[in-house]
């Protein structure tokens, strides 16, 4: 592990089988993303009546209440940024696995670096905990399939992002050309 001489920040880690592992995690994240967005996320059960919500429900509601900025912000941080991250990771890693250099590699790296800070799934999890606790007295909240996929998705994507090393990929690409 290389560290900055001046401020001790980690400059570079070299995980074993970095590329394979990142690819596997990104692929899992992709599958989990689809599940997390197509099944009920949380259900609100009161007097035997259940209201099911998906990840997108809250975003649509915010938009309908005239809070388009908020809807866009939530959409960006829990749907679009993670989706962009997964897509770009797969876009970069899949060709490399079969020894091809992806088209527009620098652009993909750059976009990926900009998408990462805006992907906030782990913060959303804390939001769920707080919301569920607040509604505790009013009704029972039942977690759906999508919630569990979301938790796994968060872990898979965090793992993929932390084992992803653009520098190692640059070395591979440049070493061959």
């Amino acid at each position: 592990m290389a560290k900055c001489r001046r401020c001790q920040a980690v400059l570079r880690r070299s995980p074993r089988d970095g590329l394979e592992r990142t690819f596997a995690l990104a692929l899992s994240a992709g599958i989990l993303f689809v599940i997390a967005n197509s099944f009920p996320f949380l259900s609100f059960v009161m007097n035997g009546q259940a209201t099911e919500t998906t990840l997108l429900t809250g975003i649509v509601d915010l938009y309908r209440q005239g809070k388009a900025e908020l809807a866009a912000l939530v959409m960006l941080t829990i749907v679009l940024a993670p989706l962009l991250q997964i897509t770009l990771l797969l876009y970069v890693l899949a060709p490399l696995r079969w020894n091809r250099v992806p088209w527009q590699l620098p652009g993909a790296f750059r976009l990926l670096r900009h998408a990462e800070p805006w992907s906030m799934m782990e913060v959303f999890m804390i939001g769920i905990v707080v919301a569920v606790v607040k509604l505790r007295d009013l009704a029972s909240i039942v977690p759906g399939l999508a919630l569990w996929s979301f938790v796994l998705l968060m872990l898979a994507l965090a793992g993929a992002a932390s084992s992803f090393e653009p520098e190692a990929i640059w070395e591979r690409v440049e070493g061959r050309s």
Binding site: Q8, T51, L62, L70, L73, G127, V129, A131, L138, W170
Partner: protein
């Protein structure tokens, strides 16, 4: 720990902002040099870092007051409307015996944004004053600022989830309010401010002075 040894800048080099390659800069400093690996434009430091950071910090500070004063959501229940601000949400958790969560929400929504703004102003002022006071600690402060900002989004998500879950027709619904929009703006603006700041400036100033 000696930091006075050669930096990339002193050797007329710069790391590419896009791909991280250490590149040699043209000796008579000309604009528009490009990275030979990825083609991005090379800069010694982030472009207009201080101006941009100040702009975002000031904008965030302006949004901070309405974000905390205006209600973030309104519970409409049997014709009654009850509005909640960020702080009243914390107090609700506290008075209902959920103090661990109250601490989490207070930290994420009130403490962190304020701390972030104060640290950024402190760093900006210290760079303007060419301070050489504890650069390692100041760099660490910057890194903390960069890492904690995202956690302030918790309250925005709580509102989103409550709005989605509680829709019982006339019985109870929850509406997002303007305070939440300002609050989201504070989070986004402070994140952009942290991103614009170039921590190497902390070291540049302290070195030009000591040399």
């Amino acid at each position: 720990m000696s930091a006075a040894a050669g930096t990339a800048l002193a050797a007329s080099c710069a790391r590419c902002h896009a791909c991280g390659l250490l590149a040699r800069l043209p000796i008579p400093a000309t604009e528009g040099a490009r990275c030979r690996r990825c083609g991005a434009e090379l800069h010694r430091r982030k472009v207009r870092s201080l101006e941009r950071t100040w702009a975002f910090v000031i904008a965030a500070a302006l949004c901070y007051a309405p974000a905390n004063i205006l209600p973030v959501m309104t519970v409409v229940s049997l014709g009654k409307r009850e509005s909640d601000t960020i702080l009243s949400g914390v107090i609700y958790l506290l008075t209902h015996g959920m103090w661990p969560l109250a601490i989490v929400v207070f930290t994420a929504s009130i403490f962190v944004p304020m701390l972030k703004l104060m640290i950024l102003v402190f760093l900006l002022v210290s760079v303007h004053r060419r301070s050489d006071w504890r650069p390692v600690e100041r760099t660490r402060l910057y890194r903390i600022t960069e890492a904690i900002g995202r956690w302030s989004m918790v309250d925005i998500y709580v509102v989103t989830i409550l709005v989605a879950l509680v829709r019982l027709g006339n019985l109870a619904t929850i509406e997002a309010e303007l305070g939440a929009v300002f609050f989201g703006a504070v989070v986004v603006l402070t994140m952009l401010a942290a991103e614009s700041f170039d921590p190497r400036l902390i070291w540049d100033r302290s070195q030009t002075r000591s040399s």
